[in-house]
Symmetry: C2
Subunit: 474 residues, 2 copies
Amino acid sequence: MEPREPPLADLFSPRGVAVVGASPADRASFATHVVRSLKEAGFPAIYPVNPKHTKVLDLPCYPSLRAVPGAVDHVIVSIPAELALGMLDDCAAKGVKSVHFFTAGFSETGDEKGAELERAMLAKARAGGFRIIGPNCVGLFVPKSRLVTATGMPLEPGPVAFISQSGGHAHDLPYHGAPRGLRFSKVVSYGNALDVDECELLEYLSDDPETEIIAAYVEGVRDGRRFLSALTKATARKPVVVYKGGTTDAGKRAAHGHTASLTSSTAVFEAVCRQANAIQADDIETLVDVLVALRFVSPLLRGNGAAVAGLGGGPSVLASDEMEKAGLRLPPLSQEVQAELKRFLPVAGAILRNPVDATTLLFPEAISATMRVLGAVPEVDVLVYHLGFHPVSRWGAGLASSPTFLRATIDALTDARRATGKPILLALRPAADWNGMKEFLAAQDAFVGAGFPVFHSLRQAGAAMARVAAWNLG
Amino acid sequence: MEPREPPLADLFSPRGVAVVGASPADRASFATHVVRSLKEAGFPAIYPVNPKHTKVLDLPCYPSLRAVPGAVDHVIVSIPAELALGMLDDCAAKGVKSVHFFTAGFSETGDEKGAELERAMLAKARAGGFRIIGPNCVGLFVPKSRLVTATGMPLEPGPVAFISQSGGHAHDLPYHGAPRGLRFSKVVSYGNALDVDECELLEYLSDDPETEIIAAYVEGVRDGRRFLSALTKATARKPVVVYKGGTTDAGKRAAHGHTASLTSSTAVFEAVCRQANAIQADDIETLVDVLVALRFVSPLLRGNGAAVAGLGGGPSVLASDEMEKAGLRLPPLSQEVQAELKRFLPVAGAILRNPVDATTLLFPEAISATMRVLGAVPEVDVLVYHLGFHPVSRWGAGLASSPTFLRATIDALTDARRATGKPILLALRPAADWNGMKEFLAAQDAFVGAGFPVFHSLRQAGAAMARVAAWNLG
């Protein structure tokens, strides 16, 4: 009888971590970067392992895993593939719970020897009573346990879980999501999915009380029926967003070379997602956008009617086009509502028809009053305010960079949100120059800190909102 | 007989400009911002006009246009609409060539009085022998003449012309295009198109020797037949990219409120563009991308086969999907080509199938060698190198921020471009934090300075290239 694999729950709170293959000053060494990241994150017990060195970044370095004095639950391995089996013997001897292989060069090379080696590795893991993550991945990011493999990750725990067949995406999503307010329970990069795979992870996360929203980047699934069942179980309990890589011929070729994934037909995969009521995304930017919408807008959203206000006729026309194309409705405003707006907005150079565009929509009083009027329209479910960060939109006065102005704008929007009871989201268009970007990032921080969902274009806001509205109403 | 309107050519090299409605310290005044912009650009003869003031930003301010001592060719007007007719009498008396009305509150308000006022204004312009730009627009930007209405614009002249019914877009395109290497001959924001309209501008720019590429943002055209004829004339001589705003119900409503445009059916408009062989864009970002591709890639492009190289399996899979979806081909690499790559790229953790992904593709030697091998593949017409700017892609060593490294990378790519004779484009993924953005913007500057087209994602690079390749081959 095959030994039963230990449960995933054991993986997420290791107390001792060994990093095999770390070296003192190798500029591009993953293992060294992992040691640095763990140190910066304040992980308590880090054990670099490398027979060639005695110190790595001021930590004692051990010649082998067996030579590590303390207990080791989790091992991060970055050594050549041909040393993998010996390494796993050491792991069994040390009594670890999990081994993450950053190491690549297995089945994804397309070489039969790589696939054979993987089978031998799995047998050793089962016999040793521990789990393998990867190979060919960046492993675990668990903020609560200070377990990281990269710097720049948000260390405050939060409700989003992300499972990713790509290591790059596993680093990218938390990094790009952090300034937008996303915080994470568990991020698992699982690469070739030799042992821990997307199905088991989905099942685990469905039950995980620390996870409220699940995101997944999948290149291929081995067992379609099990995947549908795991996905359906997950979506019954919490929103799940799936980004499928490898949807074209070249993408399939790349995915096979990347994680040995035999990607299924895109149409079948999309049908599976629809059947399971999962939200679909088609790149990391969209994934971040949809997660922001789920986290900060979804609980308050009652329908797909949007009202848009901001400065600029061009952006307003674009907003209308993009939002309606994405599937939101921009209900026209009645004569009565337009008359109300005319009481405090200038008519000249303004559009008062939803979108609302007026030069004074740069000032807190006008923003607040406009949002209140729009929020009272029954067909409007979500309010959108957009703002461009470039020298012209700040007409020579550095308006957006003034902390007083920023504070007043945030207060105005917060009041309007409270008064209308409807979600307000912001489309802040990034700048193209240094000064503008500094102001943009500072403003984004302040808005996100006040609990507002921030998107980087009206198109992206519309696309994310439309998906979440469809899911909310579905 | 109606007087014939003076030719557009007279509009682009004014020697004296009056700015009517400027005031000393009004934070959000367009006219004051125009005076500041003209001063910063070094325009020689700027005459603020406002009966309430005697000085504006250290310049003498005159009580009326007639009181201006020097010659005035061009007048920029930002005063209430009801004062427009009197203003035009002053213009006739002063013998100006053109009047730009920033002022809004005319036909776009939907009020019959506004449309009536516009007709009276046009009659005065014809009688006075001058042209009207707008109303309801930001007018002219002519780098060669130092004529600007906004700060932050690229003042070095170049081959791109842009005509825009939206003032916001007329400022946004040069601002966002500048760091990507775009420089401009003429930018005309024409708003309600009372006198100067898109057809006349297209005809003029077709013959303009300073313009090699034409971009247009159009909300509505009054005379479809004339538009088709002007567009066809232009596309016969130079590439024309058209972004049409107001393609949905809400967008049409917004466009009508914005510039009084009665937008035609989107299907008809798209058919007109296809018939005239114009390239279509659907937002300002795409417009910038397509212009970059036309300016820096198009002359060298022979087909739609692309080879992609860079670091990261996830981005590589995305690249493949996005580029093939956009209409480019990523030809698979033969065993022979893969064997050549294996001579210097590590096999483990790498994809050698196009896209090519290997950890060493962060180093100049590997980048150069890879590009040379890929560039020698006959089915490959364009080479793409992608690079992410976030803490992880620089694995703890600040590689991308090192000037030596940046210089070496640029040299490697320049050598490869020369050796292969094929265009190389860069997809640089922006950072999410301030340090990363600083490095991103510095690297973008350096790459653009070396003549490389830079895009901000593989998706955007693919979308722009596919449009330009289709147009090149069409």
